[in-house]
């Protein structure tokens, strides 16, 4: 009986022990469950808040992109405008350069024309200008003899002897230029030459002092590389019409006065000797 009671007690104790352990385990599971629920709640909360922040950040980035795109567009527009301005400046620079070139040519030609009072030197300078600055190959300078009303060649470049015959004022193209005092430019391509036609030059410029014509510069043929007349050529023609005329006229007067002076001086010397 005592034996049976001892065995039962052990079994009860064992059962109580197991039951206690089960209780502890259950308690632990409940705690763990609590913790996990808390963690899930935390994570849910976190996910919600992260989603909100993400949306805010995304919106802000989208706004920034829109701003940058706008800025980019305006910069591209400005770039296009600057490029246009640049092109405009470049073309104006070319124009100014060309104008500068023209002015330099005119200045040098005018400076050289008035650098001497020697008639032959003046003629040489005119020949140089017509050849080097205009680009003529065959041309002449004709002066008017007011006593005979005839034009004769006083200087020429690249021409044959046949053009040395005098021309009456009013005769042909050249005579008419001197009579009317108006420049003549042959129509059409200046390089379209079927041999040089001395009766029909490319250009004839009257040499004028105010309205008084003293001669003409006549161009028959251009250099091989000269394909057309440019603006500066017409400026040079116009400049030559006046400046070459005054240069030739004044140098002629100066040489005449020099000769007269020398004659008078000789006469005075003779008088002195007789006294």
């Amino acid at each position: 009986m005592e034996k049976e009671s001892g065995s039962l007690n052990r079994k009860v104790e064992e059962f109580l022990h197991i039951f206690k352990k089960g209780e502890e385990f259950t308690q632990e599971l409940l705690r763990e469950n609590e913790k996990l629920r808390y963690r899930v709640a935390q994570l849910e909360e976190m996910t919600k808040s992260t989603g909100r922040e993400g949306n805010i950040k995304l919106n802000s980035l989208e706004e920034r992109i829109a701003l940058l795109e706008e800025e980019n567009k305006s910069l591209l527009e400005r770039f296009r405008q600057v490029e246009e301005e640049n092109k405009d400046f470049a073309s104006r620079y070319i124009e100014v350069e060309a104008e500068n070139n023209n002015l330099a040519n005119l200045y040098v030609a005018s400076y050289q024309l008035h650098s001497t009072l020697d008639f032959n030197e003046s003629l040489k300078i005119i020949l140089e200008i017509v050849m080097n600055l205009i680009g003529a190959e065959e041309f002449s300078i004709m002066m008017l003899d007011e006593r005979t009303n005839e034009l004769s060649v006083v200087a020429q470049e690249g021409m044959g002897p046949e053009i040395h015959d005098p021309i009456k004022i009013g005769d042909g193209v050249i005579g008419e230029v001197v009579r009317a005092g108006e420049a003549y430019y042959r129509e059409g391509d200046p390089t379209d030459l079927k041999g040089v036609d001395y009766a029909h030059p490319l250009v004839s410029i009257p040499l004028k002092i105010k309205e008084h014509v003293i001669g003409t510069i006549v161009i028959y043929k251009l250099l091989i590389q000269k394909t057309q007349f440019t603006n500066v050529d017409f400026e040079l023609f116009s400049m030559l019409a006046g400046h070459a005329a005054t240069a030739l006229f004044s140098s002629k007067l100066y040489s005449q006065s020099e000769r007269k002076l020398s004659t008078i001086q000789s006469f005075l010397d003779l008088l002195k000797e007789k006294q």
Binding site: I94, N100, N101, Y107, V108, I125, N132
Partner: protein
Amino acid sequence: MPENNFLVVEDSPTMRQLITFALKRIPGSKVVEANDGIDALKKLSTQKFDVILTDINMPIMDGLKLVSMVRNDPSLKSIPIIIITTEGAEEDRKRGLALGANAYIAKPIQTADLLNVVNQILQNKA
């Protein structure tokens, strides 16, 4: 600023003045003028030049003779030479370049074209 010494060989005072006028637009440029080939050789024997610009048709000694003499002189042969002339035919150009000229410009000259050629030669030299 680098100094560039130019020798302009030309019998026409008008062209000399025009070329000098154009070259003076290059910063640091100094221009010496000679009337013909002999005058140019005299100046080359006493001064150093960075570029020679010469005409072809000149009295006493023409430009082609000058180019040939410069190219055959060991102390001068490295100086770049630009021919500026009224002789615009292709065979004239070929002859000038064959003799040793670095560039060939036909008259009438355009200042911008001349300066382009000169600047190109100065850049190649540097």
